[in-house]
């Protein structure tokens, strides 16, 4: 490897400064990304007197203490959100994984239109997705409630699952399957013992993505909810009156849980990597 001999050499100080710009910039961006989170977390400890939570009035832990007592409607909305998220994740992940398997491992006609069908929901603005569902439900007289929310969430999640799973399945080494079958395993056993465990991380990632998208969905839910309230809808309604600190606490909690989850995931990955080599080694 030849050392680079560029005709113009920058002065060391300037170069070091130049090198530092990008990381510093990254630091600022990360700070900017986290600012609202910080604000949200801090104001979960605000000791408010009246209804409004935007001037600091003192520190208190009471909102953490009576997190689930104060607003029964808030609890119900969380329950609704979780219910919808769990069901839509399970269904969408199943449907999407099947489609992903079909797309990457089988030959069939209609590939083009299918790809379009999968891609379009991702490319359509949420408001159009939600509004069109509303229009259809109204047209056929289907009252909107938690069922219609779940239907909508399954719909948009399928596409995301397919895209996520496909990447993982495509990178999967078919030679392993062939090897298994050469050794006498039938298709189902091969799938169960070889294929599925190896593509499982991709499926899991897709499921997590679907879950996150469903829990936080606002626009599509607002159109298909009728009077059912999910957590984002409750926060939105409350924001017009005065967001109670319990919302901040819950947001902080969700964030922390996700943080812990990610931490565990990283730890697991490290362990998986340092354990016996998988198909990633060629």
């Amino acid at each position: 490897m030849a050392a680079s001999t560029a005709p113009v050499r920058r002065a060391p100080v300037g170069k070091r400064l130049g090198m530092a710009i990008l990381p510093v910039y990254t630091g600022f961006v990360v700070l900017y990304l986290f600012l609202p989170i910080l604000v949200m977390a801090v104001f979960g400890f605000n000791d408010i007197q009246g209804r409004f939570n935007f001037t600091w009035q003192g520190f208190t832990l009471e909102h953490w203490a009576n997190l689930f007592n104060r607003y029964p409607a808030l609890n119900q909305s969380l329950l609704n959100s979780l219910t919808v998220a769990v069901i839509s994740t399970l269904v969408a992940t199943t449907f999407g994984t099947l489609i992903g398997l079909a797309l990457t491992r089988y030959e069939f006609r209609g590939r083009g239109p299918l790809n379009l069908l999968i891609f379009l929901p991702i490319a359509t603005p949420e408001i159009v997705l939600g509004a069109s569902l509303l229009a259809m439900f109204v047209s056929i007289g289907w009252a909107r409630d938690i069922t219609t929310i779940t239907i909508a969430h399954i719909m948009f999640n399928i596409s995301f699952v397919v895209v996520t799973v496909r990447a993982r399945i495509a990178g999967f080494d078919r030679a392993l399957e062939d090897a298994a079958m050469d050794l006498g395993a039938d298709e189902w056993t091969t799938f169960r013992k070889i294929t599925f465990p190896l593509i499982f991380p991709g499926i899991l990632a897709a499921a997590l993505l679907a879950f996150a998208l469903s829990i936080d969905d606002f626009v599509i839910t607002q159109f298909t909810a009728g009077q059912t309230i999910t957590f984002p809808l409750w926060v939105y309604g409350a924001s017009r009156i005065g967001v109670p600190p319990q919302v901040n606490v819950m947001g902080t909690l969700i964030f922390l849980i996700a943080l812990v989850g990610i931490g565990l995931w990283i730890l697991l990955q490290r362990r998986e990597l340092s354990a016996a080599p998988t198909s990633m080694e060629r």
Binding site: G50, F52, F54, N66, N69, P72, R109, Q227, G237, I241
Partner: protein, 418 residues
């Protein structure tokens, strides 16, 4: 992808499209009001005085009651319980499901309309709608008629006479009032160094120049248009199409200085100092005054709006007797007082004021100065118990038919969407 396959695909899709387009339509099934024609000259009253069906009720309350209301519209304690609901449950044995699912009259109506059109149970036994929506729903046949004399005697006994015959529901065939409120002007004397007494100080572009960017208006079409009409010297309930267009022009002239068109969030604007002068509701300002006593609410000289939110029973409700029992229950002056002490809007039961003053005396006897002061503020506030002078200057919304509503919406949409 071969062109042959593309063409086939599109051909099939096109065929499906044509078939579905041809058969699609949003048809309401046969409901009493779906074919009703609109009387162009009928601006104040509902279609017919006497309902074609017999009133609901007259039986024992069922086991369950589904009550839909606006947020913060019934008393609540610090643990999230609702004393009035709990007491009602204890007194009658009815299990109440109280949901604050009404954020907007039209939005809510949009969600229950499919059931009403199909003649199904909406899932609610009591809904609380603003007066004009009651008028609309009654005209469409979507409300159950009531026999107030038989089933809600407390109303006849305790309600103020003015509620016994409102223009949107003469004879109280379909509804009884829940709470009323005043739409007027709220302002922050720290930012406004003069006294606000006239709508001109809210609408006149020259006068609002110095507060440009700190003016608040409602996104509620009827509130905003009616106030503009009052500024133009028009009585809202008698407004013509020309008056509406003039009102729109007033609003458009005002718009450059308006910070935003709010639902309930204007209260936060007043509280945090981003709004100097704004349209406001009496109950909200009263509550803001608890934190900041300097904030003012005024019924302008030209007039303000007195609106009433009413309890009604949607058609096909499963538990009408329980609903009527609840309606009767809240007209007991003690209960009315309890609700008003928390909600701070205008109760239809004038007797509540005396009871609140009694509570003041009780609190003082127990050396609870904080509660006593608060309750006294409630009992003596003209925002909760308006004076006759104020009531003289208060007007009602116009009850619009469909044509008018669409036209007014169009006019107002232009104002709200820049």
């Amino acid at each position: 992808m071969t062109t042959h396959r593309t063409r086939t695909t599109f051909a099939i899709l096109g065929l499906c499209l044509a078939l579905i387009l041809a058969s699609c339509g949003i048809e309401p099934e046969d409901s009493p009001g779906s074919t009703s024609s609109v009387d162009p000259g009928d601006s104040g009253a509902t279609d017919s005085a006497a309902p074609s069906q017999a009133a609901v009720g007259g039986g024992e309350p069922e086991d369950v009651l589904n009550f839909a209301n606006w947020p913060l519209y019934i008393d609540e304690d610090d643990d999230g319980n609702r004393p009035t609901i709990d007491q009602f449950e204890e007194a009658t044995g009815v299990d109440v499901t109280y949901t604050e699912s009404i954020e907007d009259n039209n939005s809510f109506f949009g969600t229950i309309q499919p059931a009403l059109a199909a003649g199904d149970d909406t899932g609610y036994d009591i809904i609380v709608m603003t007066d004009w929506m009651i008028g609309n729903m009654a005209r469409l046949g979507y409300l159950e008629p009531l026999n107030v004399e038989r089933d809600v005697p407390n109303f006849l006994e305790n309600a103020d006479a003015v509620y016994l015959d409102r223009s949107y529901d003469p004879g109280n065939i379909y509804s009884v009032p829940w709470q009323s409120g005043i739409t007027g002007i709220g302002y922050n004397p720290e930012l406004v160094d003069e006294e606000i007494t006239s709508l001109a100080q809210l609408f006149d572009p020259e006068l609002i120049e110095k507060y440009c960017g700190q003016i608040g208006m409602f996104i509620e079409m009827r509130d905003a248009m009616s106030l503009a009409m009052l500024y133009n010297g028009v009585t809202p309930s008698e407004a013509t199409m020309e008056d509406a267009e003039a009102a729109q022009q007033t609003l458009l002239d005002q718009a450059p200085c308006v910070r935003d068109y709010y639902g309930n969030e204007y209260a936060q604007g007043l509280a945090d100092g981003s709004l100097a002068i704004t349209m406001a509701w009496s109950g909200d300002v009263f509550q803001l005054q608890l934190d900041n006593p300097d904030l003012q609410f005024v019924v302008p000289d030209e007039g303000g709006i007195l609106w009433t939110d009413n309890m009604a029973i949607p058609k096909g409700a499963a538990h009408p007797n329980a609903a009527l029992a609840m309606m009767d229950y809240v007209y007991d002056p003690e209960v009315a007082a309890q609700i008003t002490e928390w909600v701070n809007y205008i109760t239809p039961v004038p007797g509540a004021q005396e009871i609140i003053l009694q509570h003041v005396a009780d609190a003082e006897a127990e050396d609870d100065a904080e509660t006593a002061d608060y309750l006294r503020a409630v009992a003596e506030s003209p925002l909760v118990f308006p004076t006759a002078d104020m009531l003289d200057r208060l007007f009602s919304y116009k009850v619009l038919d469909e044509e008018e509503e669409r036209a007014w919406n169009e006019l107002f949409d232009e104002v709200v969407a820049g």
